[in-house]
Symmetry: C2
Subunit: 342 residues, 2 copies
């Protein structure tokens, strides 16, 4: 029998209907589907030695003595060449609301950056050394803190698209960062859900979830000193995972050096398990963090959400906002725990 | 320059970034992409003469004298063979909330029905005669009113998935209906957005939008006596359309006979224009209607939303809930107005 489950942190209901899955191995990608990729690609604008093909870097982790926009980098951040939003320093525009008839609009003011994770064209997070993943996380934090100083940036979204079904076209390993001049509904709703829980219980709902899931065990995929990775009770999609810091912190900007290592290690591990369990499926991940003005609230808690792209949302999902998940998170977590680490 | 636009009815912001489109004709499907389909398919469980392959019908429009579950039907409604939710009459379960540790759950109680729109395997809404589309709409209303009598059905979602990217596997023309035992967040948020507007202005936001857009003209795709079809100011995706009744009505159950004809005519017309403009793209449509207990409120207004599946939402959309639309609704509407009707 299908069941409805409510996500305690977001307030969203989902329908768990594993009977609708076609066969137990339906999510495993066919072996031939992904083609071999070289370590360096002649036409790739993100490969080392092609720095002049992309916009100039705004940040990089580099070998000592190497020059900006030349060789010798380990992680490199550049403005997106086809940006969704443009910084006001570039456009000269501001992020004030204005009216168009009965509607509201804002100029497309914001930063849209690409974080090139490694010079090696063929790697991915789960095939890099942990030390390299840690450099990526360090870069996330560095850019987060820098961009958070601009009062126009109400919210900073760091995300990664892996594979075509996840919306990426460039295979070179990279993440992205977008800063928004508004707090969108979905984020406001999560904050409100969190504050409601806090007012009732005096607790952070994410802290409570971590404590509960660690006791329950069967939805936990991996743990280390600073993080827990789990398949949420009300997962929207098969193999959805949340990586949650054990220490309460609303904003990703609060992450400490030791935690950066822990995040790199658990992220690499669970993406490795996902890769092994399903043969390198497409996925997105995103860091959900508090908006600028809520950076220290007791009722929100940043976390990294991994969304494998294995199924297609259809009309029902568009109309209701309710996801139909044809797998159970308990089963996904078991499969991931039993898979190799990478 | 990109811009942010706020949807007045839903409160959602979107980013309009037409500069990110690869080329002006990027949305037009390649001619060879869709294969020829026969009028009757030997292996199709929805074709006439195969009635015994599917569950027994719960409603049908039939030739006089024809028997249930036999030949002679024009539109036919059956329970979904792989349902997302199961009626309590079948499962013996009820839709009460219960606790699983710190979480809430509900048994998967509800109706999940398939509306087979015609015995002809190869048709679609935009290639059927209007009279046939009207029979489909009549069937929607009939099932809506019947299922709305069950107090477990807080919300009724009627939707259609067209093509693989829209999540359908069976090509035979069909719609679906799901009844939910809860009001999900996304619907509650639309109601709250509507009530906020109503409290400020004394008006229904959808009525105001229709009046404004009809005066503005350039986002309107089609009009008749009872309906207006438009590309919303803050469309989430290229070629998104909303069909809105001119007469204020919160619930789809309120639609009158004359309006059923008007809805059939405008739906067929705009889907025909979409088909002609983009060479039969995949799409979903869904009827957004008020929950059962808000059926007569002055601040909500049912409407049919058409979502073409031309782009892939990625990590930014998952993290922020903000869609990046690489087209402008003004341009989509112009393209659709200039296309043939079918």
């Amino acid at each position: 029998m299908p069941e409805l489950r409510r996500n305690l942190a977001t307030g969203e209901w989902i329908i768990a209907a594993p009977e609708r899955a076609k066969r137990p191995d339906q999510f495993i990608k066919e072996a031939a589907a992904r083609k071999r990729v070289p370590r360096h690609a002649a036409e790739c604008p993100f490969c080392e030695g092609h720095e002049e093909q992309a916009p100039g870097e705004v940040f990089a982790i580099r070998e000592k003595g190497s020059k900006p926009n030349g060789r010798g980098w380990e992680v490199r951040v550049i403005p997106n060449k086809f940006p969704a939003l443009v910084p006001s320093e570039v456009s000269g525009l501001n992020a004030y609301r204005s009216r168009v008839g009965i509607y509201l609009r804002i100029e497309g003011v914001g930063n849209h950056e690409v974080i090139i994770e490694t010079p090696d064209h063929q790697l991915s997070i789960c095939t890099m050394p942990v030390a390299q993943v840690e450099k990526v996380i360090t870069t996330y934090k560095e850019r987060y803190l820098t961009l958070d100083r601009n009062p126009d940036n109400e919210l900073i979204i760091i995300f990664r698209n892996h594979g075509e079904r996840a919306g990426t076209s460039l295979p070179h390993p990279h993440s992205q960062l977008v800063t928004c001049p508004i707090v969108p509904n979905s984020v406001r709703n999560r904050m409100l859900e969190g504050v409601r829980y806090y007012d009732e219980t005096g607790m952070c709902v994410y802290c409570d979830m971590v404590a509960f899931e660690v006791r329950e065990v069967h939805r936990v995929v991996a743990e280390n000193d600073d993080f827990v990775a789990l398949c949420p009770y009300a997962s929207s999609v098969p193999y959805e995972m949340w990586i949650i810091p054990r220490r309460h912190q609303a904003s990703f900007g609060e992450i400490e050096r030791r935690e950066q290592h822990g995040l790199a290690a658990i992220l690499r591990e669970v993406l490795g398990r996902l890769h092994q369990a399903l043969n390198d499926p497409d996925y997105n991940y995103v860091i959900h963090t508090a908006p600028h003005h809520s950076a220290t609230v007791p009722h929100y808690h940043w976390h990294l959400q991994i969304t494998p792209r294995l199924t297609t949302p259809a009309g029902f999902e568009i109309g209701s906002g309710i996801s139909i998940n044809i797998s159970l998170p308990e089963q996904s977590a078991k499969h991931l725990r039993e898979a190799a680490e990478g």
